[in-house]
């Protein structure tokens, strides 16, 4: 699921210091691995999940297939050209969902602080678990071994002091990374800056193509370049909130907690605005952006949602939620947006300022929604979405957006 790592060498980072308590557990080529597990004859062969059916996009590729340049979200036709001998399998999301739950159960036997990001990755905060299970590295190895032994699935674990670094570390733990040998990689606290500085700025959380381009214009390409930029200059280039965020990441700082108990059965986004918004156009633009992001995550997780929920907080902190259950599940942004608008209208807040908006999707069912095709089919979102998702996969989530979002300034983080 992760983008190919940049080409750089990882210097010896030294031993953990004891302050590394966050794990990022990331299954290796999860869907493909589940398929290979039940069809051992496929072991060692390039296996591609997806692209057999009608959506025509690769959902997952085994490492053998990745060697041919195949990666997820690539059009199946291209994948077939790259590796005509690959085995193409229809995705079986029911199996992946139940496997994901089994893997999560293993993680939850170490700590309740498990924050799933999708079916195949999760953050764990093991600071409280060390007394029982040993230090973070031991826990990482133990979890990896148990998933390999009990679930017969390969997994990589990143260990670091925070979520941001742990996620970078798990990439190094992948079969293609520097820590491939053990499947566990640690970025020690005191080596974080040394590790980060050679990375391209795109490796930082929240740095999309627009930011990369803006930074490139002032000659900033690596994290080291970024760290050297004077704070005032950075504010001028990316704005105050993003500047603060980037400075923290450059220094290897990330305060975001591992949020356990987040209902894994829902996928949502919410946005707290720097200044409360009341302009109806701004509100609908926000709803569209939230809907598109929720839809993208649904599609990436290979699920569709039956129930959509809108959350709305006023400057007084009074908070409303409204839900609607659809007749047929969806993973389409325009549809989610339509329902979000409807739910928003039902609140009858006309003109009232809003502090926070959120859209979440629950009642998840596996797979893309089946859709009865008609002779006079209204626009079928699916082919459009698959194409747009492929672009996002290559160029970042903000690379393709509905036209209405283009004029909108990106929302700035503020704690809700």
């Amino acid at each position: 699921m992760s983008r190919p790592g940049p080409a750089y060498r990882v210097a010896d980072l030294g031993a953990p210091t004891g302050g590394e308590t966050i794990l990022h557990v990331d299954m290796d080529a999860f869907y493909a691995a589940v398929e290979v597990r039940r069809r051992p004859e496929l072991r060692g062969r390039p296996v591609v999940v997806g692209g057999t059916g009608t959506r025509g996009v690769v959902a997952a590729a085994s490492y053998e297939a990745r060697r041919f340049g195949i990666h997820s979200a690539m059009p199946a036709s291209r994948a077939r050209r790259l590796c005509p001998d690959a085995v193409f399998l229809a995705p079986d999301f029911a199996a992946y969902i139940s496997e994901s739950a089994a893997v999560r159960a293993v993680m939850e036997s170490y700590t309740p602080l498990v924050e799933p990001l999708s079916l195949d990755e999760a953050f764990l905060d093991v600071s409280g678990a060390r007394r029982l299970f040993g230090d973070a590295m031991e826990i990482a190895h133990s979890i990896r071994e148990r998933i390999r032994a009990e679930r017969r699935l390969p997994v990589s674990v990143g260990v670091a002091a925070n979520k941001f670094l742990a996620k970078l570390a798990s990439r190094e733990a992948k079969p293609t990374g520097a820590g491939a040998a053990s499947g566990v990689f640690c970025i020690p606290c005191d080596a974080a800056i040394r590790y980060l500085h050679p990375l391209p700025v795109a490796a930082l959380w929240g740095v999309g193509d627009a930011t990369v381009e803006r930074l490139d214009r002032i000659g900033v390409r690596t994290v080291a370049d970024l760290a050297a930029v004077a704070p005032e200059s950075l504010v001028r280039v990316v704005g105050p909130a993003a500047a603060e965020h980037l400075s923290a990441l450059c220094a290897g700082r990330d305060e975001s907690p591992v949020v356990a108990g987040r209902d894994a059965k829902s996928i949502g986004h919410e946005e707290t605005f720097e200044t409360d918004i009341s302009d109806p156009d701004a509100i609908t633009a926000e709803l569209r952006s939230l809907a598109e992001r929720v839809a993208l995550r649904l599609r990436r997780a290979g699920v569709s949602a039956r129930t959509l929920t809108l959350k709305c907080r006023l400057p007084t902190f009074r908070t409303f939620t409204r839900s609607r259950t659809l007749r047929e599940p969806t993973d389409a942004g325009p549809e989610i947006y339509g329902v979000a608008c409807e739910l928003y209208d039902r609140l009858q807040l006309d003109g009232h300022a809003v502090r926070l908006l959120g859209v979440s999707a629950s009642g998840l069912v596996s797979g893309a929604p089946a859709r009865q095709l008609a002779f006079d089919s209204a626009p079928q979102w699916s082919p459009l979405m698959s194409a747009a998702d492929a672009v996002r996969e290559r160029f970042g989530d903000r690379a393709i957006e509905p036209a209405r979002l283009l004029s909108r300034t990106p929302p700035k983080g503020r704690q809700p």
Binding site: S366, L373, A374
Partner: protein, 377 residues
């Protein structure tokens, strides 16, 4: 109400119970289930001194008139409540006496059963339409199978009126019946010449054709049905019954361009075997989980998955197939209708690719085409 009594004519007749009950149930098929007044969903009785009682009901679009032989003592007319039909049906075998007195109360008696029921003023019942068009005689036996094949493809969504109709248009050698609800399209050629002139066409509510099919079936093998198409009405008449329907005054969608020129893949299977397998597999095919057909080799594999239930159904039946291996998914109900509508033991399904329509036909014949849109999975 008393002021109205002089406008009514008292009626009195005696009729065989079964004959009257059958006539009423025929007429009531046109009566609206939901009406703004009880009179509108009632039945108009017209007792004629010649020894018949005419029974009529209408919903404004479809009108059915039939008649039953009766000993008419006093001729006249009355509008009775829908319940009248149920009352007659519930009576014991034998004769039924009906009389309406000067105050508009009907008395229904059979053996030792007595009912009284108030009637409605004739003015509360709609004016019945004239007959449509010059009648043409058509052999009754040609109609039911053809009609039944196409009407399943018509829409029941009143929000899309043109799709609730069946297009009737002339061909070189007869007629073509076409219906679609936008998910499937049924086209049937019928060798009935002379009903419509070249260039003429009629969009007939599918409901009315269902009644025509029923009428033709009831008429029996070697008799004729008279069919007349007018500008705005069509009338079907056989025996004692005539059905008049308004025509749908909308343009039917251009269906010809929906029919693909060629199909590279051809599957043939046994109708009964597929329907049996489909019935089992469909237990796990809900709205969002269609039935997938995997084509290739000497079998066709039917598969349905219900992820919420965590269930899966899988069955193979023998088939012959020539073409590319592929999996194509359909709504289970639509697939059943399509297969079931073919009148032969073997059914042929031609496909292009998984997102393009499949065409079901009776092997070796292009008299009947059923085009079915797949489900994207």
């Amino acid at each position: 109400m008393e002021t109205m009594t002089e406008t009514r004519t008292a009626v009195s007749f005696r009729c065989d119970k079964d004959t009257l009950a059958d006539g009423l149930s025929t007429a009531f098929r046109a009566s609206p289930l939901k009406a703004t007044s009880a009179a509108l969903s009632g039945v108009l009785l017209e007792a004629d001194a010649s020894g018949v009682v005419r029974l009529s009901a209408t919903d404004g679009e479809l009108t059915i008139r039939t008649s039953v032989p009766a000993e008419v003592e006093r001729s006249g007319e009355a509008v009775l409540h829908r319940l009248f039909g149920e009352i007659v049906r519930s009576l014991g075998a034998g004769a039924v006496d009906l009389s309406v007195d000067e105050t508009g109360v009907a008395d229904i008696s059979a053996g030792r059963s007595h009912f009284s029921l108030r009637t409605y003023p004739r003015g509360d019942f709609p004016t019945l339409p004239e007959s449509g068009g010059k009648p043409v005689r058509v052999p009754a036996s040609m109609l039911p199978a053809a009609i039944d094949q196409v009407v399943t493809a018509a829409s029941t969504d009143r929000g899309r009126p043109k799709l609730t109709g069946v297009l009737v248009e002339p061909t070189d050698s007869g007629l073509r019946l076409v219906a679609t609800d936008s998910y499937r399209l049924a086209v049937r050629e019928v060798p009935i010449p002379g009903l419509l002139e070249a260039g003429e066409k009629a969009l007939v509510p599918a409901r009315a054709l269902v009644e025509l099919s029923r009428l033709a079936t009831a008429t029996g093998g070697d008799e004729d049905v008279e069919i007349g198409f007018g500008d705005r009405l069509a009338t079907f008449h056989a025996g004692r019954t005539s059905i008049t329907t308004t025509l749908i005054e909308e343009e039917f969608p251009g269906y010809q361009q929906l029919l693909p020129e060629r199909y590279p893949n051809t599957l043939e299977f046994d109708k009964g075997e597929l329907l049996d397998a489909l019935r089992r597999v469909s237990l796990l095919a809900k709205d969002t989980t269609p039935v997938r057909l995997t084509l290739g080799g000497d079998v066709v594999r039917l598969r349905a998955i219900d992820p919420e239930l965590g269930g899966e159904a899988d069955e193979e039946i023998d088939a012959t197939y020539s073409g590319e291996p592929m999996t194509i998914a359909f709504n289970a109900g639509y697939l059943r209708d399509a297969v079931d509508s073919c009148g032969t033991e073997a059914v042929q399904m031609e496909t292009i690719e998984p997102l393009k329509p499949a065409m079901l036909t009776e092997p070796g014949s292009r008299t009947y085409l059923h085009l079915l849109m797949p489900v994207r999975v």
